[in-house]
Symmetry: none
Subunit: 235 residues, 4 copies
């Protein structure tokens, strides 16, 4: 979305500031619930002037999304391309991801919640980037399996576990809290790597216990919506 030529030197600076504020508002109230008026008030600019900078409301969304995905994907590619133990590269990639979640928490909120407000073309680009990032993770996990560090059978599922653990963090993390991105990355990778390593005999066999439970206690189904003890209801 090229701007007409002949912008003053402050144009881009101010534009970035507006996107910052928009991200913060969208994160707090949601994209749909934030009006251009709200944004104008927060920026200190009338509606007309706002449009001079932003083009359209949806365009703001695009900018916010790419602010996150652009740098992240760039750095992730660099990390994945390093010549190093895949476990280290996963660990670095994890910290990279968490770092941007910490730094751009409001962007991530918008990214996660309102990407469906995007139109066809923009949405495709975004989904492509997501998919590229996933592929990087899968690649590293594959290398780890091949070198014997991990013993996972379903690579796709391992990837998803990695992503679940990291991507849901934005829901509760507080950047000024007690934990920083490096610490969290260490913890997450610790859990995942030990979990994926799967040395025999570490656990009592929970799976067997679970199977037994389901067999022996039909009165307490795991499905939260199932009826309890249907026999008691028979007349």
């Amino acid at each position: 979305m090229p701007r007409p030529p002949g912008h003053g030197p402050g144009f881009e600076v101010r534009r970035q500031k507006i996107i910052d504020i928009a991200a913060s508002l969208f994160a707090r109230q949601g994209y749909a619930a934030t009006s251009i008026n709200d944004l104008g008030r927060a920026v200190g600019l009338a509606k007309g002037a706002l449009y001079y900078y932003i083009g359209s409301k949806e365009h703001l969304l695009v900018e916010i999304q790419s602010r996150v995905m652009g740098p992240l994907l760039g750095r992730a590619r660099e990390i994945a391309a390093l010549e190093a133990d895949p476990l280290l590269r996963l660990r670095l990639l994890s910290e990279s991801l968490l770092t941007i979640i910490f730094r751009r928490l409001d962007h991530i909120w918008v990214y996660e919640h309102d990407y469906r407000s995007l139109s066809g073309q923009e949405l495709e680009t975004l989904l492509g980037q997501r998919s590229d990032f996933e592929a990087l993770v899968t690649g590293l996990l594959t290398e780890a399996v091949e070198q014997g560090s991990f013993q996972v059978t379903e690579l796709r599922l391992a990837t998803l576990q990695f992503l679940n653990l990291h991507n849901h963090t934005y829901q509760w993390v507080r950047p000024e809290g007690q934990w920083d991105a490096a610490f969290l990355s260490g913890e997450y990778c610790g859990t995942l790597f030990r979990g994926f390593a799967a040395p025999a005999g570490v656990l009592p066999d929970v799976e067997e216990l679970a199977a037994a439970f389901k067999r022996d206690r039909p009165d307490l189904p795991l499905d939260p919506e199932a009826q309890w003890e249907p026999t008691a209801l028979a007349s």
Copy 2:
């Protein structure tokens, strides 16, 4: 929210069907982006008749949320109260949670994405329920630590890892896919339980490698937004 007295026998049936459809639309397009007209078209009912059943748009949201949280919390409390190994109970609770995610995927979408659209009282109730569920998980993890099964230092963080792993599943899971709730639960708990058990020496010391990397490669900062090699930019 009781309806005025005197409703025909089909009322509740149809009402439930409308909520079903609403959940599906909200999940696909988002709560804010779905209009009552959309819903009417999907249900095959004029606007007026819709309101006869639903009361208000926000009330639909409440119903959808409580359809998920009510049964889940009820079953989770039963499971947590069982006399059994805390690991087993965690495993059962995990499957219970995943079961409802599979069954009510669209409800979960709405639940995760649009709870911010709730008004004060309803929002408080919902957040209270979330918090109750978290407390159950923390309790079980505590028991597991006390009996020596886990060696986690930060219980709060362990809880959050459990929740991250499960709760983000709705983002990609497909109920009719190759994996079911029981399998996923086994995998998740496998990873987590082995990860939390933390037997010494399982991993090469990734943390040390990471620390070394950060020291030796300042040209490749983990922060995706950091500038590369700033010296090269100096004029």
Copy 3:
């Protein structure tokens, strides 16, 4: 608005009760702000049944209006036709009017506030009745002037004073209060009759004082919206 033949014996009784309740609701909340649902709830009948009795919402208004105007006009004509001192007849007519205001306070509220909601034909009937009532008052005042009891110059204005004094009563009167219709009628007629009798020299000449005031105090105009002391604003 004839009802279809073949109504049970209770029909008219119930119909009257519904109109009673409607009048009470309309008076309290206003005609436009009272829904048929409200009425149904107050009556204890579903909407469908309500329409069986009332025909339409506007028809309720007509019934309420005619309940007031019919009897009042009838009685007023009888009183005006009596062979008696016109002052006595005015006094009796006054009490008659106040009696119905006390008894049917809610009907009067509706009558005074919502007659504009009537359609053409009904509205004309109503205005005709109002005008008939006014003519009776004017007639009696004329007789009083002719027999020398009153010394009013503008008969029309005397009529309007009579009506103002009585008709505005509904705005503040409370039927269960300390005053009843007979007492109020005595007071009103006392004031009016003494006022209309106009014996010379009863008052200091207030009109002269008022004229002097207007002349001498241009800085305090009686018009509430006029500017104060315009000279002070001159530059």
Copy 4:
């Protein structure tokens, strides 16, 4: 209800014009029966632009009410505070009240008919102003009684008579008619002041005649809804 900062010079002018037109429409059709669309058509502005000026429909009502009550109460207080015969002050206050009724007839219609449509806070303010105005009248009447000009026993009732006589005027007055506010004020005050002066023996004793009538003519009850000659109805 301050508008966001930065309105052009024409804003307030146009806003006042819109309120003028709204008052005229509300007076003619009633507040509830006048839609924002109606207003837009009358003003020559689309709905959206209307809201740019008015804030809300109810806010229009508030503005209309305060346009009347603000100036009136201000001027009334000044008049009541004058050092002058209380009869003169009553006469001036009367003319002041009638002047605004003449000038702002449509505002008065709205004021008298639709104040019930106001919400809690605004309604309280309005009722408070009404009550303040009444208190001024009562105060002047009290002074008149104390100096021997009036012989009323019920001050509250005298106040209400004053208000009835004046406030109901809006129902029939036509500003461009033969009478102006000053004339009407003279007539009203003439009637009231002579009526309240109550010199003995001015009237034949109408009250005695009325009592006799009620005693002697049970067949012609003053209650318009009473049955005639109930004996004839006995079976």
